[in-house]
Every structure is written in structure tokens, then in C-alpha cells.
Symmetry: C2
Subunit: 429 residues, 2 copies
């Protein structure tokens, strides 16, 4: 038998998992600080939910893993956490609005495999359902800054508004039915450059002159308020401009800087208003580390009754991990101390138990290997301290503590070891 994992999937080693858990815990903490409640939905969904015309759309459906249960029911592995949330809301009409939830979970896409593109990956979403106030959009921006500040990463949040993009396209005389594909082309500006996007727009049968006017407007320069006042000269009564203005005011009010970028579009068709994107400064991770926006029509359509405002953002745990791993050494282990018995297994087991009772993450030799093999093992796992329990130590009612980094050894009683380890833990947190 060939030992392999499925194409496009990966194992997460203890060292990587420790770092990922730290990121996810930090995000959870910030989500709860901002009043979001956790939700969990099954990894399996009925295929008719995933393929509903209000869901993710034809492109994503091509990448959906399909299967049947024993009762021949058509199922699929979820490709995101937004569609399951909409289904949950529709199935639970007594939910109080606004509904603020976060969800962290695995999603699946059976697409082409490339660097940093996997068939199973972790999504980390926050969404507010039921409020159309721009103060909520501003709160999400604040949450993004709080999260990255806790992660010790330097982020900048770009915002734009889909209604504003539509207003600009209207102003340039681009017909309504051409606007959605045009916006999806504009989304590629940063990745492929101006010429490539112009060519795509030409292929969509849009006049050169219209394309050029449009480009001038979306690539407008200056500070946020400067850009707004320039665009106002062309666009009268633009709801998109009004929303951006409101969002910027709220953000300034609570002290957060946003970068208004009229050329930012985001790749999904379902956005209806604000779109956001978070990018790292001073990092080799150039792609966005979070992104989202307002999608006021999706849930209402799903519910089959009226509209239901919603706005959310998704964090890319894997890219955040890459950005952290390039900057700082990750912890190889959460174990603080490794106990080596020298012909004193029973005594050693008691000491291990006392260390654990004192809240210190402790591991111990169970193989009765010699000291040098044990030191090699503790060193390879990256455990910072080793304790020797031998006859001499037992007679003195002490243990020998070795600092694995400096190699320094000292004879201490157990309370002194506990005190030392606990004071170090307090310094690090």
C-alpha cells in the first residue's frame, strides 16, 4: 500500500499546529471582544443547498466535492461558511436580529492545486446579519485592526463600495448588464495591471473612451476626503459615495485609519455595498489576509422573503501563519519541562504529578533510557528545561534542573522549580 494523503490536502505538524492554534485563539478572543457569538454547522451540506441559485454560484459549484449517503441523498462538502450560515438563519426564524456570529472551520474546494491553494483549508468568518448601519461596517474595520495588533502584524484596511463602482460605470455610460462582468475585471487590476484589465473590458465590448474615463475615476489619487470630493463633482446623489463617507466618519470617530481605494472590487458577484480588504505592511505576504463586504440581498433571497442586510469578513489563517512564521520563531512545543528518572521511576512519577498539579506542562521519560539519549530527545522537541531525578537528588530531597539553552544546572527543591517556571511563564504572557 502506498502511503499518501489526498491531493491538495496536508497534515499539520505539532509545531505548525501550535502556531495555528495561537492565531485562531487570538482571533476568537477578538471576535468575542467585539460581541460575536460562535456557531458551528456540519461539514456536510445537502447538495441542493450548496447549489441553490442564491448560494456561491456556478464557478464554485464546479469545485464542490459531491457524495451520497446510504439513503442515496445528494450531499456536498461545504465550500464556505456563508451559505451554511444563511441556511441556519432561514431554518431558525426565532433568531434575534441583529445576529452577530463567528465561525471557524474547514472548507473544501476541489479546484486546481497550487502554492498556498489547497483543497481543504480553514475559514475564519465574522458576520453581522440584520443591520444596514454603516456603523457596523466601521466596527468590522476596528475588529480587523484589533486582531492584527494582537497578532503583532501591521495591517492596512482598504475599502470601497460596490454601489459607488456601479455609479461610476453608470456615469461613464456603461450599460447595466455589462457592469457585473466589468467589476469582476476591475478586481484583477492589482494582480494583472491596467493594460490587461483594459483589454478584458474591450473584449466585453466597452468603448475605449468609456474605459479611459472609468479608469481615470477609479484610479483617482489623494487622501480619502480629497478623493471623495473629486468624485462628488461627477457623481450627484451617489448612494455609494454617501455610504463611504459615512463609513469613513465612523472610523475616524473611533480612531481607525482606512484607505479608500475606488479601484478595489473583490471577486465575488454577491457584494452589494462596502467591500474591504486587509493587506500587511512590512511582510512578504502580498495577498490580502482578510476580505469581505456587504451582501444585503443573499440572505433575503435564501429566505424567500424580502431583503436582509448582512456584512462580514473572512480571515485567511494560512496566510497569517505564513506572515508570522517569516517574522518570528514559532514554538516547537508547549511542554515546559521534561523529567528524567535515573533508576527512580516511582519517585519521578510523583514529581511529574506535582509539577502538573502546579499547572506546569510536563513530560517525562517512560522508556528508562540513559541521560544522554533523554537529553537528546528533550532537545529535539525543543523543551526548555530538564529535571533529573536520581538517588543523590532524592537523598537531598532535591532535583537537578537543567536550562537546555544555557546548559546551566542547579540543585533545587521542587517548590523552587515550580516558582522559577511559573515566574517565567508570567513574564512571557
Amino acid at each position: 500500500m502506498e502511503l499518501q494523503i489526498p491531493k491538495g490536502t496536508r497534515d499539520v505538524s505539532p509545531e505548525e499546529k501550535i502556531a495555528k492554534d495561537k492565531i485562531v485563539n487570538t482571533l476568537k478572543e477578538v471576535f468575542e471582544l467585539y460581541g460575536y457569538a460562535p456557531l458551528d454547522t456540519p461539514i456536510l451540506e445537502r447538495f441542493d443547498i450548496l447549489s441553490s441559485k442564491y448560494a456561491g454560484g456556478a464557478e464554485i459549484l464546479k469545485e464542490t466535492f459531491r457524495l451520497k449517503d446510504q439513503g442515496k441523498r445528494e450531499l456536498g462538502l461545504r465550500y464556505d461558511l456563508t451559505v451554511p450560515m444563511c441556511r441556519y438563519i432561514a431554518m431558525n426564524p426565532s433568531i434575534k436580529m441583529p445576529f452577530k456570529r463567528y465561525q471557524i472551520g474547514e472548507v473544501f474546494r476541489d479546484g486546481p492545486v497550487a502554492t498556498a491553494r489547497y483543497r481543504q483549508f480553514t475559514q475564519c468568518d465574522v458576520d453581522v446579519v440584520g443591520s444596514s448601519s454603516m456603523s457596523v461596517d466601521a466596527e468590522i474595520v476596528a475588529l480587523v485592526y484589533a486582531a492584527f495588533s494582537k497578532l503583532n502584524l501591521d495591517v492596512v484596511v482598504k475599502v470601497n463600495n460596490r454601489k459607488l463602482l456601479n455609479d461610476i460605470l453608470d456615469y461613464c455610460g456603461i450599460q447595466k448588464e455589462k457592469q457585473e462582468p466589468a467589476i469582476l475585471s476591475i478586481d484583477k487590476l492589482e494582480k494583472f495591471g491596467t493594460e490587461a484589465v483594459k483589454n478584458e473590458l474591450k473584449e466585453q465590448n466597452i468603448d475605449d473612451k468609456k474605459i479611459n474615463t472609468m479608469m481615470d475615476m477609479i484610479k483617482i489619487r489623494g487622501g480619502n476626503w480629497e478623493k471623495l470630493s473629486q468624485l462628488k463633482k461627477f457623481l450627484k446623489n451617489s448612494e455609494g459615495l454617501k455610504e463611504i463617507e459615512e463609513l469613513l466618519s465612523y472610523a475616524e470617530n473611533i480612531g481607525f485609519a482606512i484607505n479608500f481605494d475606488a479601484s478595489m472590487a473583490r471577486g465575488l458577484a454577491y457584494y452589494t455595498g462596502t467591500v474591504f480588504e486587509g493587506l500587511l505592511k512590512n511582510s512578504n505576504v502580498k495577498s490580502s489576509v482578510c476580505g469581505g463586504g456587504r451582501y444585503d440581498k443573499m440572505i433575503g433571497a435564501f429566505l424567500g422573503k424580502g431583503s436582509c442586510p448582512a456584512v462580514g469578513i473572512s480571515f485567511g489563517v494560512d496566510r497569517i501563519y505564513d506572515a508570522i512564521a517569516e517574522k518570528q520563531e514559532t514554538n516547537k512545543t508547549n511542554t515546559k519541562i521534561y523529567v528524567i528518572p535515573i533508576k527512580a521511576l516511582n519517585e519521578s512519577m510523583k514529581i511529574v504529578q506535582q509539577l502538573r498539579d502546579a499547572g506546569i506542562n510536563t513530560d517525562a521519560d517512560s522508556m528508562e533510557r540513559g541521560p544522554s539519549k533523554n537529553l537528546e530527545y528533550a532537545n529535539s522537541l525543543g523543551i526548555p528545561y530538564v529535571v533529573f531525578v536520581g538517588k543523590k537528588e532524592m537523598e537531598e530531597n532535591k532535583v537537578k534542573l537543567r536550562d537546555m539553552k544555557s546548559g546551566k544546572e542547579e540543585m533545587l527543591n521542587l517548590n523552587e522549580v515550580i516558582k522559577k517556571l511559573n515566574s517565567q511563564a508570567a513574564q512571557q504572557s
Copy 2:
């Protein structure tokens, strides 16, 4: 479109998810205290791995969800976390032994749906690979007691040994080839009673006399050491008895009580030595809340070279949740305070930001609803405190804090609110 979730799956509401997260975090904390490192493996595995003859076996394979990727590769959803761990170890020969890992994740079984039997559920495993010392088995018992003590549940751990069961069956003259099915029948003793098991054994063509002798031996009464010394009269040089004796000595040495029960078998064929089971005292949850054992042959067979000792235990998060939910009120929310602006949205947003900066989980009205609607909303979510921000309050540079339980209101400045909420949090933790 009919809105449904797949048969045998369920959504986890915020209230349930808060309680489940608490259980999982407590288990993680104890696992790390005992020196286990986290591991993660894909939910998808190649079907040939899952169906390997060294894996879970024919019964479980009937319940395995199967699917194909776009490249027509045969895949399956994992049915446990043990087989993926064995695959991981086999694919990473440089792993240092002993390898102590924990893994928490979703597993899938397309079996009959019943109360507390789901097609997707959470497994929570710890395993030690590479050590055959009974001190490791004793450590796992200590870990179980530590975990349930932190969960405020009263557990008793029963142990037995598969080698001992084989020795007993040998003594009774039951042939080797009849022993595995006989042990799987003995596993049903507690559930279906003595008569049912005797009938099953008769159907396996075992003599009445042999069955009766065997029953007398496994149902032996008395304290642990009493049982051992009685069984020793019949069984000379039983390795199973020796192992149990060793395990009991180690457990006594570190101060944990175990209940040796010679009739306990556990339902899986692959166990080779110690088997454990944790049962709750003073609870309506009568099924085991954790269980596992030693499986010294599985990984070696998987590796295709020699034997590799391993022992592990799996915690049932859902049953633990049931046991906690029946005893104590679960937290409906992690939000501590809800801010209601009265025509003061900008001022209120600043106050919300300051509360969050102080580390207090805060939510706020974004709908500009009236005070009574907002109080109703905060009450329905179970948020313990509400703060009103209005003109009068702003003039006095204060806010009105309402204790939602007592209904008591007081005018405080923001620092006083933060102090009050933080001191409460300190008391609760």
C-alpha cells in the same frame, strides 16, 4: 427549495457552542499539561488507507462516506483519528519516539441514526506511540481524572487487560480462534446482561461448562488486590495479570484510584493489552464518557515493519456536554455588556471602543432602536449588563449601568464601569 441539513448531522447553536468550546479548551489544557502535542490531519483520506486491513475493519468500512475527486481518486471521510495518526507516523519516519499527540476533530460514520448517534461527531484523542511501559497507561488514567476534575464531573476509571481475558479464556479451554468473537460478546455484558451474553457464547459453540467457569472468573468480586490474588490462584505466569498489577501499583504511587474490572472488554478487535473506560458518578449519562486501550500491533502492521507499542484514549465531547448541561446552567453568551445609545451614536461608539480596549466583551445597538426594544434584545441574549449613553449622561461625563438580573441602575463614569466588570470577571475565573 426545502431547507434541511443532512440526516444525522446537526447545527451547534451559539449557546451550545460556547459550552462545547469550554469543554474542548479544558481538555486541550489538560492534554498539554500532560505533555501531549497537537496534530491535525485532513478530513479527507485516501480510501485505500481507510480500508487497509490494518485499519478500522470491515464493520466501520460499511459506514464510511466515500467520494471521488476531479481526478477520479477514491477518497473517504475519516471515521476516526487513529488511522490518520498511524498514516502520519508511517509517512514521517523522522518523528522522535515516544510520540505523544492529541487531536480534536470531526469524524464521520454513515450508520444508523439514533439518539446521541450522529453521522458527524467530534473526537478528542490522546495517544502515546513508542512506549510499552505501564507507567504510560497509568499516566493516561491520571490524565482522565485531571480532565474530569477540571470539568467538575465525578469520574471513575475502570481498567482491564485483553491479555488477561485471553489468559482466562485459555484457562477455560476456549480455543484461540474462538477468543476474539467471545471477547466482543463479553463486551456486551453491561448492556445486555449475563443471560444474553451466555446465549451469544453458546451460539459460538462454546460449552456451557466453559462459559460458566469463564463467567465466574471475570465476574470475580472484591477490592483490586483481592481480585488479583484470587485470579493468580488459577493463572500462573499471566502477562495480563502482571501488567494490571504494574498499572495498579503505578496508579497508587501517584495517588489515583482505579477500578479493576475483569469483565470489561471494549468493542474493538485491535486492543492488545490495557483497556480503559471512564464512567460518571452522580449523572444521568450512563454510557462511558471516555474509553481506549493499548494497541501494540496496529502501527507496526501499518508501517510494514515489526511492532510499535501504542496506547490511547478518546473523550466523548457530546456526552460530556450532556452531563454538564444537566447539572449547570450553560452561559448563553460570552458578551458582558451591551451599549444602548440614546441619540448619541458617535459618542456611544467611542465608549464601546474604550470598553473593548479594556478587554471587556462588548456589543452595542447599531439599529437605533428604542431603549425598551434594546433591553428586550440584550435580555434575550442573556447579556448581564447594559449601558445607556444619552444626552444627560454625556453632560455628566457618565453612563447609566443597568444590572440585567437585579434591574439595579447606577450612574458611573467609564473607569468605574470597567473596574466593576473586570473585578467581576476576576471573581468568576
